[in-house]
């Protein structure tokens, strides 16, 4: 047996060594397994697990909590994360992101996703300018119209900002299964890059029309409420049931977070899921779901039946 390392093996070993030195807190799975990435516009790719900030990042000026959230963001980037989603509706969350990025620096992997939301006041242009200041950034990768509020005016303004090079991509959002008909019409008729909607193992209405439409139109899809506001993961954990053996065998499932998130991101139309968390340990669980094997179409059906049987 030839014991000499090839150039590729040597580089890989060097990379592993460097990563272990730089990020000693990352468990071994993170080093030898990469976060799955999916394509969005212009053949770019995004890691399938992002980070939501609703409720969890709204900590105001509390230094203790600001530092704790900075640790979450740090771990997110260390584990290969990219998309972080916020909104002017989320209270101080954009300021908290600004604080974290000031502490950590702005990594190349950051894909900053914000929203314009009418009740926040001001035009879309004014809101984007204010939010950039709060994040300490010069440009957002994505700005979405939050919950379709005044989408005609906002989308037109966002398109102009995109053409002027002020933002990179534009999109629309909905949640809780609301206004799907209107959402579909916009997806079908307007030139948007991203659509953010609620999709999880118990709320799959979007599989019927919106997800196929996104595939047809080449629109990247972000899934919000992957744990149904925390209820799904809490419910499963509180049952204290072991993971089904077939889930472990078929896609190496290691936790209920793995089970729920892998179900979402394995859908062919899905680009990224954005679970929110305030704990590094939960973030690691979430990120692990974007690594390794994914459930097949048949296994996905089995997963749905299993959850429905509980």
């Amino acid at each position: 047996m030839n014991s000499r390392f090839t150039r590729r093996q040597s580089l890989k070993m060097l990379g592993v060594g460097l990563a272990a030195t730089l990020f000693p807190s990352i468990p071994s799975f993170a080093i030898d397994r990469e976060l799955l990435r999916k394509p969005y516009s212009d053949n770019k790719t995004l890691p399938v697990i992002g980070l939501g900030t609703w409720q969890t990042f709204n900590v105001g000026s509390d230094t203790r909590l600001l530092d704790a959230r900075t640790e979450v963001v740090k771990a997110f980037f260390e584990l290969g994360g990219g998309l972080i989603d916020s909104s002017p509706m989320y209270g101080s969350a954009p300021d908290v992101m600004g604080y974290a990025l000031q502490q950590l620096g702005v990594p190349d992997s950051l894909f900053s996703a914000e929203k314009v939301w009418s009740p926040a006041g001001g035009s879309a242009v004014e809101q984007v300018a204010e939010l950039l200041g709060r994040w300490n950034l010069e440009q957002f990768d994505l700005v979405q119209v939050h919950n379709l509020r005044d989408w005609r005016e906002h989308l037109a303004a966002l398109r102009e900002m995109k053409q002027a090079g002020l933002i990179r991509h534009i999109g629309i959002t909905t949640s809780h299964g609301r206004r799907h008909q209107e959402f579909e019409q916009i997806m079908a008729s307007k030139d948007i890059d991203f659509a953010q909607l609620t999709y999880n193992i118990t709320h799959r209405e979007v599989e019927n029309r919106l997800l196929p439409l996104a595939q047809d139109r080449g629109i990247a899809v972000i899934a919000n409420r992957p744990y149904d506001g925390g209820r799904l993961i809490k419910g499963l954990k509180s049952r204290d049931e072991a993971l089904p053996e077939w889930a472990v065998e078929e896609f190496g499932c290691t936790s209920w977070a793995d089970f729920l998130l892998k179900f979402i991101v394995s859908h062919p139309a899905l680009t990224c899921a954005i679970p929110a968390t305030m704990q590094v340990v939960h973030l690691r669980e979430n990120m692990r779901a974007g690594m390794g094997a994914m459930p097949s179409a048949n296994t996905r059906q089995k997963m749905v039946k299993y959850i429905e049987s509980l």
Binding site: G60, R64, L65, G91, S175, H176, T202, R204, G229, M278
Partner: protein
């Protein structure tokens, strides 16, 4: 499969339970030992009410409302919830309504024994019992919610004192803001799954409402009696 998603109460609360309780703790850390001064203020107010000095007692509660409006709602809570600024204005309004007692409007200098007992029980719950709930459940003394520093005990203590100090239509007017805040706070705690804390708020609110109704009912009977006497 359930396709019909709908909003729940939790979806309207823009922070988690941990963040909210930490906010209460920050008030404790920032303003200690103001708690002691406010506690003394509350006890003095109860003593004045007992001595039938309703006007002075009512006026002394007003600074507590003004301070909570500014320090809690405008400075901290508004960072987490856009509604915080508006709630601060309601708390300032309550302070003004209490200061209006200087004119003698709606004052009850001789509360009946039943109303007095119920009112003082509610006020003491806010002053002396509520501060222990946070530390007993969290282990942190800085989570002690205190009259004049935190909104819930301020509202509960005030409702008890209102039952003691006021009567007629002004009794109800001056009870609206504390009662609405307690309803909002109870629902917030419920949505944050702090069920025992929410239950305490709802029980105290219910008791205070009962006190208001009993007092109003009692006064209408007295009015009828007086009519017959006349």
């Amino acid at each position: 499969m359930s396709n019909g998603l709908s909003y729940s109460l939790q979806d309207f609360i823009p922070f988690t339970a941990d963040i909210y309780f930490r906010l209460l703790e920050r008030m404790g850390e920032t303003y200690w030992p103001l708690h002691l001064l406010m506690l003394i203020l509350g006890l003095v107010t109860c003593w004045l009410a007992w001595k039938h000095r309703a006007r002075l007692a009512a006026v002394l509660i007003a600074p507590a409302w003004g301070f909570v409006a500014y320090a809690f709602f405008m400075q901290l809570y508004a960072e987490l919830n856009w509604a915080g600024g508006y709630i601060a204005y309601f708390f300032f309004t309550q302070a003004i309504l209490l200061l209006m007692a200087l004119t003698g409007i709606g004052l009850d200098s001789r509360p009946r024994k039943g109303a007095f007992a119920l009112g003082i029980a509610i006020a003491f719950s806010g002053l002396l019992v509520m501060p222990f709930i946070g530390p007993l459940s969290s282990g942190s003394w800085f989570q002690a919610e205190v009259f004049g520093v935190h909104p819930d005990p301020t509202a509960v203590t005030t409702l008890g004192l209102v039952v003691l100090l006021f009567r007629g239509w002004y009794l109800w007017l001056i009870a609206i803001i504390p009662a609405l805040w307690l309803l909002y706070s109870g629902l917030t705690l419920w949505a944050l799954e702090a069920t025992p804390a929410a239950m305490v708020i709802f029980v105290l609110l219910g008791t205070a409402m009962m006190g208001l109704v009993c007092k109003s009912f009692g006064y209408s009977l007295v009015t009828q009696d007086n009519t017959h006497d006349g």
